[in-house]
């Protein structure tokens, strides 16, 4: 799905990411581990096509990524990044989950079906009319996950999605995440939990000081 070659990301004189060669296969789940400041979020931002690397080449689905604005936006429609503390827009849960669908021109029944399916997947089928700002932290995290799932992205990038939530919600989201590769979705998820690769049946990428110290198998 991805191949990264000679990637360098620098802020001023500081190099925060230095990846010589990294491949991420389609339809697999990867956990991305490493200490704080290892470059995990920076790598996710590159994989999400949000920030171009200072140097290097990114290939997506076999094609070299052109970071020009119009071209990269088409790529962004295939990849969704879920932040650690996701932002929910004002309004209802349904409107939040529908946001990305609207951006893709999906409206009417197709939109309603996708929203309902995504909310069901995270156990919030009855929450469509609730105000997003009145949800608990765990519920908000599930809505954000539903918002990402509704888009049925080719790649789902998750930045510590299971941090700061209760055990029950974490277990539910874990099972949702673990089921995604079987549906063809590539998942890259940052985590500090060393058990996640085994529990989610995923491959492990470990970053330290911006370098890959344990490559994907």
């Amino acid at each position: 799905m991805y191949r990264l070659r000679g990637i360098r990301m620098r802020y001023g004189t500081r190099t925060v990411l230095a990846i010589d060669d990294l491949s991420i296969a389609a339809g697999r789940l990867y956990t991305l581990a490493g200490p704080n400041g290892a470059g995990k979020s920076t790598l996710l931002a590159i994989l999400a096509f949000l920030s171009p690397p200072t140097e290097g080449e990114v290939y997506y689905a076999g094609a070299r990524v052109d970071w020009a604005r119009g071209s990269v936006r088409d790529r962004r429609l295939k990849v969704t990044l879920l932040h650690q503390s996701p932002y929910l827009f004002g309004g209802t849960v349904r409107a939040n989950v529908a946001f990305g669908l609207k951006a893709r021109g999906i409206a009417g029944d197709a939109q309603r079906r996708s929203v309902a399916r995504a909310l069901e997947a995270v156990g919030l089928g009855e929450f469509g009319d609730r105000k997003a700002r009145e949800l608990s932290g765990g519920e908000a995290q599930r809505v954000a996950m539903a918002r990402a799932l509704a888009l049925e992205p080719e790649v789902l990038l998750l930045d510590e999605p299971l941090a700061n939530i209760d055990r029950e919600t974490a277990a539910l989201l874990e099972s949702v995440i673990a089921s995604l590769p079987a549906r063809g979705t590539t998942v890259v998820m940052t985590t500090h939990d060393p058990d996640h690769p085994a529990r989610l049946n995923g491959a492990s990428i470990v970053l330290e000081g911006g370098r890959v110290v344990r490559p994907s198998p």
Partner: protein, 228 residues
């Protein structure tokens, strides 16, 4: 004190009787202020959002200029626009001087920096996750900007209302560019200045009460919207 009480009572009677001069001045004030606010919103909101959100060379200078423009005296704006619209000015052939349109132009210049500053402050104070969230969900620049505006809508509304408040309450621009022509360009503020100088204090007070009510009404409207 007796003078004030008597004037206040007369003012209330004038308002209750809907005195034609009073109604004219209120109508003119509201229409030119609304026009200027619309234009100031069209210019000021995008300007404020761009300066607030985008990084560009000389951004700090742009912010300083925008802040400073709030403090420009109304008579200076009036003088500047007068220079352009007067018969000898570059836009003199349009014949706009001493028309409501001239007050709208001046009001737009007065209100735009206020609207832009409020919008800029709202954008800078917005949750920094709004735009990245919209972008990661596939929004293009326009949809992402729309999402941001929707999230800071109360700040934007406050910007519009502050702009309206600036225009409806100023006297310099309306006097210099409108000429205070009865039934045509006489606004509440220019009428208050004129009538008070003529010794018609009660009439001035009546207009002052209406002006206060307009300001109060606008603020109540904002509060109601915020509660929704």
């Amino acid at each position: 004190m007796e003078f004030l009480v008597a004037s206040f009572a007369s003012a209330l009677r004038l308002i209750a009787s809907l005195a034609p001069d009073l109604v004219d001045a209120v109508g003119t004030s509201l229409s030119v202020s609304a026009g200027a606010t619309v234009f100031a919103t069209v210019f000021g909101i995008p300007l404020g959002l761009v300066v607030g959100l985008c990084d560009f060379p000389l951004k700090r200078a742009a912010v300083t200029i925008l802040n400073s423009l709030i403090a420009v005296p109304t008579v200076v704006v009036g003088l500047l626009v007068y220079g352009f619209l007067s018969r000898q000015g570059p836009l003199g052939s349009l014949g706009l001087l001493f028309t409501p349109s001239a007050i709208v132009i001046g009001g737009t210049l007065l209100a735009s920096p206020i609207v832009a500053n409020y919008a800029m402050a709202s954008a800078r104070g917005a949750d920094p996750r709004i735009l990245p969230t919209a972008v990661t969900l596939g929004a293009g620049p326009l949809r992402a900007a729309g999402a941001l505006v929707a999230e800071i809508r109360f700040g934007i509304l406050a910007a519009v209302i502050a702009g309206f408040g600036r225009v409806v309450s100023e006297v310099g621009v309306a006097m210099m560019l409108g000429g205070n022509i009865r039934g045509y360009t006489r606004t509440m503020t220019t009428a208050i200045a004129l009538e008070t100088s003529k010794g018609e204090f009660a009439f001035g007070m009546a207009l002052g009460i209406v002006l206060m009510l307009v300001a109060l009404g606008v603020n109540v409207f904002l509060s109601v919207l915020q509660r929704k």
